[in-house]
Amino acid sequence: MRPYLSVWKLRFILGMQYRSAAIAGIATQLFFGMIFLMIFQAFYSGSAAEPPMPLDRLVSYVWLQQIFLSLIMLWFRDNEIFQLITSGNVAYELCRPCGLYSFWYAKLLGQRLSSATLRCFPILLIVFFLPKPFRLSPPASPEAFVLFLAALALGLLVVVGVSMFIYISVFWTLSPVGSTLMISVAGEFFAGMIIPVPLMPHWLQTVAGFLPFRWTADFPFRVYSGDIPAGEALWGIAAQLVWIAALTAAGAWTLRRALRRIVVQGG
């Protein structure tokens, strides 16, 4: 466990160095959040029927997306790993006395966490004090908040599990573009990043329910606003645990298969 913790910590500290990038990111995320909210509000204001998700819940949904963007985004990726694989330097990684899967898993986790810590608090502070229709409301109840934290943490593990597949796929394709682009576009859509899952038509919601993506973002954010009540949230957390187990087991298995047939040329 020790080596994984230290690689996690290294990544965390490294990520904290890029402060100016974080400030730019904060401004961008605030701007995007505002634009999305204005679009949704314009849609809501014209609608005659009761929308499936009240506006204040939608506001928290959008802001939480922006605040925790680096925890849930699939395109957040580590080019170092891609280079390791395509250049053949992955051989060095194999010499290390720890499992490759857990090693990379810890690395990716640390990277996401450091980026999130840098960015989330300033945005949180700002959006809590915005004028009324844009303000982020506090969590629905103390229980909802605790459940939200748990769901967000588990969602992060799901995201890293999914993104591990992107890295592993490079062993076969040798080029990180193309396939990864497809996975992240589909994943983003079904995680409710483009339009919230409750606003999708029924058949798409069913599709989203069968995929791991909605457990990463849609589920924790709706727990926060009370859109998913506490009892149901517990079942959701159970589902997240199942996904994490399945994704890591499948990921570790495919990585083993990939490594068995890997040929590193000298040079």
């Binding site: 990038a21 730019a24 990111g25 401004a27 961008t28 701007f31 995007f32 505002m34 634009i35 204005m38 679009i39 314009a42 849609f43 809501y44 204001s45 014209g46 609608s47 005659a48 929308p51 080029s175 573009v177 193309g178 396939s179 682009l181 497809m182 576009v185 589909a186 983003e188 859509f189 483009i194 339009i195 606003l199 999708m200 038509p201 798409l204």
Partner: protein, 260 residues
């Protein structure tokens, strides 16, 4: 101009050397705006209309801005990637050549994989136009073409401004994404659904509204007042590009090499 096309053809050939990667990327680029467009379609399906705008009208707004964006990403990529040229010291080489720096930077890179994106927006454009009951005449068609062309100029101007900042900061600034990516996200819906300050900023400071929303009112036959005023609107894109070029020239004069 001849030189520009020479750059164009060389880079096109060089990118086609990696055929598989080229097609995969082009294909992938097709799907990025596709998912955004799908989101727009689903929102309209649920809510019916958006402050008096129908789906096909909004689709036209979407298509125009995405066409402009993908064209500018394809052809003005050199400015977008400019920080690399500064950091590596490669800009010194451009300075000793007897041609304008703006042209050379523009020609330093093209991203032809953006054709995927372009194709997607073109399909949306044709679809929207086919479904909209516009009575076509020459001025309207010209206005539409001007909208796309001047939209490209605005995006190029923004790339240029932020490329110029690299003369002082060396590193690229991500904050520029607010105006390019953010401007695109914002301008893909009709401008009048936003709050006042957004509308004002994106009409008078960065004139996305002038190449998209205002002339479109005329094309759709919603405008009141003289059509010539609306037709001339997209030319604001030219007005925007000129100061950007001026700033660029000032920047070039202040350039100090990184020495590497």
């Amino acid at each position: 101009m001849v030189l520009y096309f020479k750059y164009l053809s060389i880079l096109f050939k060089s990118q086609l050397q990696y055929r598989a990667s080229f097609w995969l990327l082009t294909f992938g680029q097709f799907f990025i705006p596709f998912s955004v467009f799908a989101g727009m379609y689903l929102m309209f399906e649920r809510f019916g209309e958006l402050r008096g705008w129908t789906f096909y009208e909004a689709a036209l707004v979407f298509a125009v801005i995405h066409l402009a964006f993908s064209l500018s990403e394809c052809f003005a990529r050199g400015f977008d990637m400019f920080s690399g040229l500064i950091a590596s010291g490669g800009f010194d080489r451009l300075l000793v050549r007897p041609r304008s720096t703006a042209l050379q930077v523009l020609g330093s890179q093209f991203e032809f994989t953006r054709f995927g994106r372009l194709l997607q927006s073109a399909i949306v454009l044709v679809w929207a136009l086919a479904k909209l009951p516009i009575d076509w005449n020459a001025p309207r068609a010209v206005t539409l073409a001007l909208m796309v062309a001047c939209g490209v100029l605005i995006f190029t101007g923004i790339y240029m401004l932020f490329a110029t900042l690299c003369f002082w900061t060396v590193q690229g600034l991500e904050i520029g994404n607010i105006f390019t990516d953010g401007g695109r996200e914002m301008a893909q819906y009709p401008l009048d659904i936003y709050k006042k300050w957004v509308t004002v900023f994106f009409t008078f400071v960065i004139p996305f509204g002038c190449v998209n929303y205002l002339p479109l009112l005329y094309v759709l036959g919603r405008a009141h007042g003289h059509p010539a005023g609306y037709m001339a609107m997209p030319l604001a894109g030219v007005l925007f590009l000129l100061p950007c070029l001026a700033v660029w020239l000032i920047g070039v004069r202040h350039y100090r090499s990184t020495g590497s």
